[in-house]
Symmetry: C2
Subunit: 589 residues, 2 copies
């Protein structure tokens, strides 16, 4: 028991810090009223009339009649998608009012295992970002369809759940429940026994399949992409995480049934899932989503509840965070009002962290644990020939299924196209936007290369590659020619991972990701600038495409659990059939 906190709360001792002259957004009652907040150490000691807490040494922050909200909570985010190392990531989102994230560090786990995740959590301790660890449930995501460095079996998951920051298991695949994946069900039982939260990944799941997933204990899902999916989840007793991130933006659609049917909002929250560093810098984080919700006509307090008490209650941590109330962590945002919602100042774990948009606390760079470094283990350099897709030499044309993708959607759809064959090698078709795509195993396990065809990126020349390929993090490469593709992949191996743009034998842009081949050590603004440069280089190589964040979209093309197609080191994947298929479906001699 924190007796000093109790002493401050009752006026026996003075507060370390107070915020005065605020408009308190009380997410517990749904009210807004004038008042202040007194802080002792990392915790809130009192809220309301807190004059009695002010002593001679108390730091006084005048909110100047601005709003005071709890620090925001992102109930489902993968920090790795920002490509920022954790301290820079923390800084980036804290400056937008986020104080807590629920995250599985799944990507780190794929490359460096539970030990790697613990090393990242250790790095994060230097920051005041509050992290709940939601243990990844599916590493690898699809064991029979991809190669990862690590495998999380029920024992690993059980071990992860012992972590003091553990609050559940994440990304429980709906399809794996439906197919009665024994290891997954076992892990779910372990988690339920510990009274921790079962977080779903119910992409594309509806009807009786959804019923089965909820019956199995799944408490929340962040994969609703339409009005009907959102409504169905809520009616089924499934907490609706309305995703608004860099890859998928479903908030507006998810809000539709809520507005239309005047639904109870207490079982809804806003999450990001993935946040691109450029978006973090230019748009923000949950503050940006609140602006969208407000623009959609959601009441101010209701919108704030969706990023505070609602997720904290969902994870059973409302006694710790998500409410401006005594005993909770002193994570306080000073914000403007609903008309032009902005984070002005941030108090983080009791310390003034950002004042009038000026960050006061700068985190030192981490000396990364060795388990996080030197993780690129390709069996051998690739050659251009490695990317050939062969057919019999007498075939002139083949009809293929290519994956087509779009910006802000994880889903890939099929597009059929006829491609020419030269000397038994299927040729891409830049006119039709049917390009080569491949994934090269990089964990030193088997050196496999899976190949397929891709549409949507509109590259006219060159190749792009990166060492981030969900959820196995082998090297994914897209190109118009085999030479640029092999150059890109080999260079990534040399620099221990990253993202690269190659055109006609020249490297136009490269950003290295020394941490697990996933994370840069650049600060957010610098990394965003580098990425903008890379994107510009890609744009210069492209025709008209809707894909504005090509590397992020590229990394999702390997995701063998999101319909309809994927490419992994095993080959071209039919997600619903859960098997490798031949992209070639017909030929002409």
């Amino acid at each position: 028991m924190n007796q000093h906190l109790l002493d401050v709360s009752c006026g026996k001792c003075y507060a370390d810090l107070v915020v005065i002259n605020g408009q308190i957004v009380n997410v517990f009652t749904g009210e807004i009223y004038s008042g202040g907040i007194a802080v002792s150490g990392e915790y809130i000691a009192a809220v309301g009339n807190i004059d009695y807490c002010i002593g001679p040494d108390t730091e006084i922050i005048d909110a100047q009649n601005n709003y005071l909200t709890p620090g925001f909570v992102d109930g489902h985010i993968h920090p790795e998608s920002s490509n920022l190392s954790i301290r820079n990531f923390a800084s980036a989102i804290q400056s937008h009012g986020t104080s807590t994230i629920m995250t599985d560090f799944h990507e780190i786990g794929v490359v460096s295992g539970l030990e790697g995740i613990k090393a990242i959590l250790k790095e994060a301790e230097e920051t005041s970002l509050n992290i709940y660890f939601i243990v990844p449930s599916h590493i690898p995501c699809a064991p029979s369809l991809e190669t990862s460095a690590f495998h999380f079996n029920p024992e690993t998951i059980s071990q992860g759940l012992e972590d003091s920051q553990a609050a559940g298991i994440s990304e429980i695949s709906g399809f794996s429940i439906i197919s009665r994946d024994g290891e997954l069900l076992q892990a779910m039982d372990i988690c339920a026994d510990k009274k921790l939260s079962l977080q779903g990944h119910l992409a594309g799941i509806s009807g009786t399949n959804l019923t089965t997933c909820i019956a199995s204990g799944v408490a929340a899902d962040h994969e609703a992409v339409s009005e009907s999916e959102a409504l169905e989840r809520l009616r089924s007793g499934c907490h609706l995480m309305m995703r608004e991130g860099s890859v998928a933006g479903n908030l507006r659609d998810c809000l539709k049934p809520i507005k239309k049917n005047h639904l109870d909002t207490s079982n809804t929250s806003i999450v990001t899932d993935d946040l691109h560093v450029c978006d973090a810098v230019s748009k923000g984080h949950l503050d940006s989503s609140i602006r969208i919700a407000l623009a959609e006509g959601i009441d101010f307090v209701t919108a704030i509840q969706m990023v505070t008490i609602n997720p904290s209650r969902m994870f059973h941590v409302e006694h710790q965070i998500g409410i401006l109330a005594p005993g909770r962590r002193a994570d306080i945002n000073i914000t403007s009002g609903p008309e032009d919602f902005r984070i002005l100042s941030v108090i983080s774990a009791g310390k003034l962290w950002m004042e009038n948009n000026r960050i006061l606390t700068h985190y030192s760079p981490a000396a990364h644990d060795s388990i996080l470094l030197n993780t690129m283990h390709m069996k051998r350099p690739v050659t251009p020939e490695d990317f050939h897709i062969h057919v019999s030499e007498d075939i002139k044309r083949v009809q293929v299924i290519a994956m087509k993708t779009e910006s802000c959607a994880l889903i890939t759809s099929p597009v059929k196209a006829w491609l020419n064959v030269k000397n038994g090698i299927v040729q891409c078709d830049i006119q039709q936007d049917i390009l080569y795509i491949a994934q090269v195993e990089r964990h030193g396990k088997n050196g496999q290369i899976g190949k397929a065809f891709m549409s949507g990126f509109q590259l006219k020349s060159g190749a792009i590659a990166c060492s981030i390929g969900h959820d196995n993090h082998n090297v994914i490469v897209l190109g118009t020619n085999f030479e640029d593709m092999s150059l890109a992949v080999n260079r990534l191996n040399e620099i221990q991972g990253g993202q690269i743009v190659v055109n006609e034998g020249k490297i136009l842009s490269e950003i290295s990701y020394p941490v697990c081949g996933l994370l840069s050590d650049l600060p957010a603004e610098e990394l965003a600038a580098e990425k903008e440069k890379a994107n510009l280089a890609i744009q210069n190589m492209s025709g008209e495409t809707t894909i504005t964040v090509p590397f992020m979209v590229l990394s999702f093309v390997c995701l063998s659990v999101i319909p309809e197609y994927a490419v992994t080191d095993h080959g071209f994947i039919d997600v619903l059939q859960e098997k490798v298929i031949d992209p070639i479906i017909a030929f002409e001699k």
Copy 2:
């Protein structure tokens, strides 16, 4: 994982039971719409369109367009207050739609310890009432002010929290937090470490004292008795349990700030605290409270949420109960609508338990564990002289503070009165309604007798006594003369506890409580009839009094944590000063 449940949910197997043609009250979304519910074993398999779950052997219940609600949850009730043994209690409240209770069995714990509580939980296993055990935090309630048979130290509480049904600790005394009771704070830390719920008992606590209690981690309180207390608790981030029971009825007052300020209701619930068997029989349980809430203008779904999802979410068990959704326990009420709200039929843990008000499942009487029996251990029979309050023989009159109590209020207030003295013995004054009251230790520890004066009961002759005296369960006796008082107490010792009415040397009514001296083995209706007879006997001995349930009010006069006064075996207690005081404050010679 319950794989058969999953098979039913997805249509691979048929349901055991379905309810069709219902109006589903969806407490998750706040909607009401037509649909059915499919049940597999004890659990809900599907909700909505469940035609696919109906097989040739499925039991079909036609709801005839009535409403389907989740079984009700009482987040704070002491079953012992009904004086029913647990199976009869279960039957009584299940017939009113209650499927789950959160309870500490504190009274059993006082008399028979944790082992006794476990014996009661074992008895309850025969029923389908769902019980979460909220470990009592304060046995004895006030160690320096009363004698109990057992003491729950942090080790006992920790042991209790290991129980599979444990969901928190209960009745955390606000005053003990404020006085920094070391054992209590230690128990709270143990509970918080286990991520279980800290349930407060914050009677009379407000202002900075309330702030301190919330800062210590208290998550809920059931002791708000006024509009301002209710508002203050909610604004402080404290779940508001609005009590509407046999002893205290605070629901209307608690609803006032909610209606006035349009507060978020998701952090409010309705609880009983104490439910008299006569009320259970004549009025009902939470169904009766819902009728009050509806009459107060609360929306139907909101009222249902207050006794379903809200308490279940408060206790972090919303994945198990409180929602009509797949995977939850199949506790379903078929009810009439808001105009004339009644429970028509009850499905309990998947079985049709009551059909059109006819109970189908009758529980067999329990063979009580020996730890629950023969618990009256008075050191010796009392004599009339034991109840004398002596002063010096030359004193003619004394001024005393008597406790005054009223029906439906736990609080006692002081009333000053002058009393005559005869031969150095202070005399009661029937005209002024200042009577003798005493508590006699009965756990075989010390044989102490505490004495004081009482107002409010208006007895004109005789005495009443019972072996229930919160929270120590010594024998409490109220009377107009010493002879009837001693007869009453000694007879209670002979019959192993109960309640008794004596007048002029004759026993007018006695009901025995063989279980811990607290619980009868009579079914609810029979016990209620016996109690009505006893009440009638008391009424015949009384003038005009507002006290309609004299034995229940009597049992609360010993509660040394509810202001302003109490009597225990230690003597007359000033609750706020936490000490024994002399009821005599002045004298005339």
